[in-house]
Each structure stands twice: as structure tokens, then as C-alpha cells.
């Protein structure tokens, strides 16, 4: 098991290294003269040269890469190209915090509901309940977040004034209650995306396990139905679900670009869209690296969790 963990950590490092190369490479092919783009048409040659020197854009590419990666590892993430050249790291970290809050809220809402729906659908396979859940989840899983998001804003939020419509950009601050209010709509929207996915996976997992002979063994031991289901079936059936939940954490942290845009929520995704539009290189690289790190971390967590919960892997 410990060797497994070491192996996975090594793999994580390799993945990060490879993706950092990809990201660095991609951001280098930005067409046009970046300093010119940033400083504008009127900037003089000297200003441009200063800009290049300041951000190290004159060095050969490998040097730039090593400098950037080295800086990144040691915590110096460079400065933003935007006016005032603020340091990238505090900005990204702040947004990361917001994204994590949103992710947590989403998980709190979506996980119990979707597992419950999935289990119910499986236990009453082919009943009206199953069909209803299946059609609902198929419909919801396919809707782009901006559709569900706008539906929520315009449908529900207008009706329930007390939720408070976060129509203007707002950094959630103040009381706990405030936090919950401003988080609820975005996390509900994210829930819609996760819900169908997790519910269907859970349903498939439970159905799969129900067919296995050990369920018959448990029943023929005389165990009550709820013990057969909760102790024997779910213990195994939820393994893939748990993996997927862990994986979705990665998506929740960096992938909620659209939802953050819809709600003007100041998360990492919204910052990334801005960085892309402003061609803010260092900022973009930092965000992408952070996002990928969490994505990879979520992958790792999913694998480890699976291994820990599954004696067949744990005891290899």
C-alpha cells in the first residue's frame, strides 16, 4: 500500500511537470506582441523594452520556462500584466478560497441527494420512480450551466426574494448567513450538473452489485432486507460513486467557469476568463497550474480512497 502511494505521488509530480510544459507552450503561441497589446499603441520602444525586461520576456524560452517553474514552486508567481502590476499569488489565492467555498457548498447539497436518488432508482428498477429519476437526471445532466443558472435566477430567485439575488458582483463577506445565501444559487446550479451524473452512476453501481451472488448469500443467511442493502450492497456499490465525487472536486474548483460567470461569483474560473481575455500571461499560467494541481490532487484522492475502501487493492 505504501508503495502504491509513493507511486501515485510520483505520477502526480510527472503529470504536473508535463502539463506545466503544455501550458507554458500553449501560452507562448499567443499571436501578436504581448507587450504591445498590454501597453497599447502609443507606448514607446523604451517602455516596451522595459516591460520585456521586467517580465523576462527576452530570455530564451527554456530559461523562461525554468525561471517560471522555479518561481512557481518557490511561491513567486510573478506579477499581473494589468495596471498596477499586482502580484499574482494573493489574487489567485483569494479566488481559490472563494472557489473552495463554492465547491464545499455544492458537495454538501448534491452528494446526499444524488446518492439517495440513485439508490432509490436502483432498488425500484423500472418502476415509475426509476423512470422519472432517469429522465430527470438525463435532462439535467445535459443542460449547460448557463441555462440552468439563468432558469434558477429568473425562475426561482425572482419568486423567493429572501434568497437575495446576487445580481451584482459580490465578494461574499460578513455573516455566515450571508455566506450561505450568496453561495446557494451557484451551488444549486453546480448541483444540477453533478446530480444526474452521480445519481446515474450510483444507480448503475447498485444494480451491478445486486446481481452478484454474494447478495443472495446474504439474503439466504436470513439477514433483514435493510441489512442486506445497507451493509452488504451499498458498501460495494458506492465505491465508484465515491471515486467520482472525489474527482468532481477538481472540476468544482477550476471548472465552474460558466457558473461563476452567470452569477458574477468571484471564483477562480471567472478570473481565468478575464486573464484569457486580457492575455494576462502569468496570471493565466498560475490559475491553470493551480487548477490542474487540484484536478490531479482530486484524481489522486479518488484513487487512494478507492484503494483504502477496497480490500482487494489495499491488501495487494
Amino acid at each position: 500500500m505504501s508503495r502504491y502511494i509513493v507511486r501515485r505521488l510520483l505520477l502526480l509530480a510527472v503529470t504536473m511537470l508535463v502539463t506545466s510544459l503544455i501550458i507554458f507552450g500553449l501560452t507562448q503561441v499567443i499571436p501578436g506582441d504581448v507587450p504591445r497589446l498590454i501597453l497599447g499603441r502609443e507606448a514607446g520602444e523604451q517602455a516596451l523594452a522595459d516591460f520585456r525586461a521586467e517580465f523576462g520576456l527576452d530570455d530564451p524560452l527554456p530559461v523562461q520556462y525554468v525561471n517560471w517553474l522555479g518561481g512557481f514552486v518557490t511561491g513567486d508567481w510573478g506579477r499581473s500584466f494589468t495596471s498596477g502590476n499586482p502580484a499574482v499569488r494573493p489574487l489567485v489565492m483569494e479566488r481559490l478560497g472563494n472557489s473552495m467555498r463554492l465547491a464545499t457548498m455544492t458537495l454538501i447539497i448534491s452528494v446526499p441527494i444524488s446518492i439517495l436518488l440513485g439508490v432509490l432508482a436502483a432498488l425500484w428498477e423500472d418502476s415509475w420512480l426509476d423512470n422519472l429519476i432517469s429522465v430527470l437526471s438525463l435532462s439535467v445532466v445535459g443542460l449547460p450551466e448557463f441555462v440552468t443558472g439563468l432558469l434558477l435566477i429568473n425562475g426561482i430567485a425572482l419568486g423567493i426574494k429572501s434568497l437575495g439575488l446576487p445580481a451584482t458582483s459580490s465578494v461574499p463577506d460578513g455573516t455566515l448567513e450571508d455566506w450561505i445565501r450568496q453561495l446557494i444559487l451557484p451551488s444549486l446550479t453546480a448541483t444540477f450538473v453533478l446530480l444526474g451524473y452521480i445519481a446515474r452512476l450510483t444507480r448503475a453501481g447498485v444494480l451491478d452489485e445486486l446481481k452478484k451472488p454474494y447478495v443472495r448469500t446474504a439474503t439466504l443467511k436470513g439477514l433483514p432486507y435493510h441489512v442486506v442493502i445497507f451493509k452488504h450492497v451499498l458498501r460495494n456499490a458506492l465505491l465508484p460513486t465515491i471515486t467520482v465525487i472525489a474527482l468532481s472536486v477538481g472540476w468544482l474548483i477550476g471548472g465552474l467557469v460558466v457558473i461563476e460567470n452567470v452569477y458574477n461569483y468571484p471564483g477562480l474560473g471567472a478570473l481565468m476568463v478575464d486573464a484569457v481575455k486580457q492575455k494576462n500571461l502569468l496570471m493565466l499560467q498560475a490559475i491553470v497550474m493551480v487548477t490542474i494541481f487540484f484536478f490531479a490532487l482530486a484524481n489522486l484522492a479518488a484513487d487512494l480512497l478507492y484503494a483504502v475502501l477496497n480490500p482487494r487493492i489495499r491488501l495487494e
Binding site: T15, V18, T19, I22, I23, L26, T27, V29, I30, P31, N131, S134, V135, L138, S139, V141, G142, L143, P144, E145, F146, V147, L150, L151, N154, Y197, R200, L201, A204, D208, G250, W251, G254, G255, V257, V258, N261, G269, M272, V273, A275, V276, K277, K279, L284, V288, T291, I292, F295, A296, N299
Partner: protein, 300 residues
Amino acid sequence: MSTLRSGVESKRASRPFYVRALLAVVSFFRRLARHPVSLVGTLLVIAFVLLALFGPNIAPHRFDDLIRGAARQSPSLEFPFGTDRLGRDIFSRVLWGAREIIAIPGIATAISVFLGTCVGLFVGYYGGWIDELISRALDSLLSIPALVLALVMLGTIGPSPVGIIIVIVLLYMPIVTRVIRSATLNIRNSGFIEAAKLRGESLPYILFGEILPSVLPALTVEAALRFSYAIFLTASLGFLGLGVQPPSPDWGRMVSESRANYARTPWELWFPAGAIASLVIGVNLMADGLRRIFRYEGQF
């Protein structure tokens, strides 16, 4: 293994090809019809494809026609979906927009499925270090979240239909490869594959003649799913302003732009959003129907 073959079908083996093809299509819809929701989904998709083909021909206006004195009209007989603040007919814009929202994901899906199938069949069958190398490479591509890769790519090479297609192919080709690879792994040690080896068959014949038919169910379901995700992604990119650029009518961008006017012209948002929703749901229901027909339990 799918149960595509029934006792009756073999006796028809001698009929001409087109008759058999027709019978296959009829039987396909019959199977679909057993689950009405899937049938509805499939018909919805067919309707949208027809719209994409003929939409501009039947649209009453061009997408950029500014109809004089008809700004901000609510839906009526003349303007079924209403008009926007510039007096453009939303119905026409939605019809014109259907082509891109179907063509871009469609082409991208086709390329992803084609490449993914070839690579998946090859590495799944061949195995060994090639498989390990390619699988690792694809894994690292997959370790980048979809939207992040899309943003970075489109932010750098600039938003264009080709750019979006490249992004989708980069994102989905590895997934298709994975699915086909694992389906291939399941049968690569079957007796019929080994028998083919023992009669000295070539690699292409084994891949496409022996293995491909067996992975076709997985492939079909996967293609439908990828199509649905590709539409999703294309629409989202349009919404973020990174899709097809103006003035061409992109459903996602239409939704995004209509937000500011929601209070006065809510129909500007309803119809493009509704179109996206029904298209994506249709594709999903169809994919689900295909999965039922093929009894294929894959990822979704």
C-alpha cells in the same frame, strides 16, 4: 455481447443489401420505441439535424436583418420567437444558428471518434509498451480539465470554428480511445481473434474486420455521448464569448447577450436557451436509448 442477431435475421441474409439496411433501420426504431422517451429524444435530434440542413432556407429573415420598426416585439404570429432590441427576428436567428451548433460539435465528434477508434483498436490489440506510452500520454491530456484547456487554447489561437473543433478533438479523442481500448481489451484474447492470427491475417483485417464489429455498440453509444458533451461545450464557449464570433448567430452568445435585456425582452433568452436545452436533452435521451438497445453499460 449484444443480441443484434435474431433467428429470423439470418434467413434474410440472402436479401439485397438495401433491403437489409432498411429492415435494420425499421428494427432499430422498433427497439427504440419500446422506451418512448428515447424515441422522442431521437426524433428531436433528427428534427434538429434537419433544421441545421434547411434552417436558413425556411427562415423568414436573414440572421442579421434589422427589421424596421419591429424592435423588442414579443412573440407573435409574425415573429414566433419575438424580436430583439435591434429588430432582428429571433426565430430566424435560432434557425440560422442551428447549423453551427450542430456542425461544429458534429464534425469534431466525428474526428474524435474516428481517431479514437483507430488508436483505441490499435493500442488495445497491440498492448505492450506502445499501449503504455500512448495511454500515459492520453492520461496527461485528460488530466487537464476540459474547460481550462478550451479557454487556454482559444484564448491563444483565437476563437474560430476550426479552433473549437481542435479543442474538442483534443479533449474527446483520448476519451473515445480509452473506451475503445477497453472494449478491445475485452475481446483481444477471444478464440476468434486467435483463430484469425493463426490463419495469418493482417493487422488491419484483425482490427477492422474482426474487432470493430464487436466494439460497434460501445462506439455508437460513446459517439452519441461525445456529441452531447461537444454541444454542451460549444454552447458554453459561445456563452463565454469564446465561440463563433459575431455577427453569426451563436445560441450560447445569444443567451449571454440577452441577459442584460432580460427584464424587457425575456423571450430573447427563452428561445435560444430552450433550443440548446432541447437539443442537448434530445441527444442525451438518444444516447440512453442506444445504451438500452446495445445493453452497453459504459461511462456517461
